[in-house]
Symmetry: C2
Subunit: 216 residues, 2 copies
């Protein structure tokens, strides 16, 4: 199945892209139970507004029928296709310390769409071991292994001072999407997408809810 | 210094709260170098629009001067106070496996605002050990330790099937804010805030950028 966006669809905004997996999760809960779903039902289950949902779906040409809504199976297929999840995506975890190991294990055991096929680490004690059957390679072999296994996505879980160098090497070898857990702003060419998870920012915004709601 | 929001300010929307730590980071980079900053400069450094920034700041009464902007030091103090960061916040990490250990270590070493003062785990081999000097307690002692150390914030890094029970226990002991890494939807009373980091959703939305941008 050819991704719909490759047929000349306009580019979908990042904010819409981030909501698509949430729709997918709700649709997967609904599938088998009902054939159609309205934007109002999706709004109740996702917390987004009906208007937002209809607008998001219109980006890839999914138009609901008034009073009936959207076909659950069709919508699932469309969203999976838009996201490129119609076939498994080979991914790497760079850094096999506590965080990298936890992320790799989680992804290997829970995720069928993203397949972690390699980990990388500089520590000789970790190299050659495996996490749930997936091998830890030396970081110096990253370019060769990325090319060989066709890896296009990477999770970055190395110390901040090492992050830019591993991203540079991975980009040169063909990786175009990164999930970065290192607390550092990474540079990359325009065609590369870096999504950052910054624990400090998360905890600082969470602090608001500690003090705001726990005072009498 | 009394938090500004306690003086009868309207509640700040969640979306604004999530931007406040980003402003704080930029202001901290600017402080010492310049005394004032315009919303246009902040827009350039954060990626948010000037209109959005002025609107965010107006929630807590920070009004810029036309052509001059905002005072960097004052704005920093106001945002820290709004977030409740004017004194350290004692926090716990629940689950001392790979993920919990990595998160605790990161937070202990990098974060001065949030102080991880305890970890909890059910595994007797982990209980009694320490992570960077912070003790791992048995999960059954969570209520007592949370009360004793005045813990109000917790990072949840336990297997999904254990998450709801530890959150229930922590809420009863007084925790009001959670950062949840378990892939499960947690229930909590209305006064409790739960921020979820869901690796599957992050990776699925990231998949869009693999296929969309790497095809010719």
């Amino acid at each position: 199945m050819v991704g719909l966006r490759h047929a000349g669809n306009p580019r979908i905004p990042d904010t819409t892209v981030r909501r698509l997996p949430v729709y997918l999760r709700v649709l997967s809960e609904l599938s088998g139970r009902q054939q159609e779903v309205t934007s109002a039902e999706l709004a109740e289950r996702t917390g987004y507004s009906s208007e937002q949902i209809r607008k998001d779906f219109a980006y890839f040409g999914a138009l609901g029928t008034r009073g009936v809504g959207y076909r659950v199976d069709l919508l699932q297929r469309q969203i999976r296709s838009i996201l490129g999840l119609d076939r498994p995506i080979p991914a790497a975890v760079i850094g096999a310390g506590n965080l990298g190991t936890a992320l790799a294990r989680y992804s290997i055991l829970q995720d069928r769409d993203i397949q972690v096929v390699a980990l990388f680490d500089v520590d000789p004690r970790r190299v050659g071991t495996d996490i749930e059957g997936v091998k830890v390679y030396p970081t110096e072999e990253l370019p060769a292994v990325v090319r060989q296994l066709g890896i296009r996505m990477a999770i970055v879980a190395v110390p901040p001072e090492a992050a830019q160098a591993v991203v540079d090497a991975a980009v040169r070898a063909g990786v175009t999407a990164f999930l970065n857990f290192s607390p550092v702003k990474l540079q990359a060419p325009r065609h590369v997408h870096i999504q950052n998870i910054d624990l400090s920012l998360e905890l600082q915004s969470l602090a608001y809810y500690v003090s705001a709601r726990s005072l009498p």
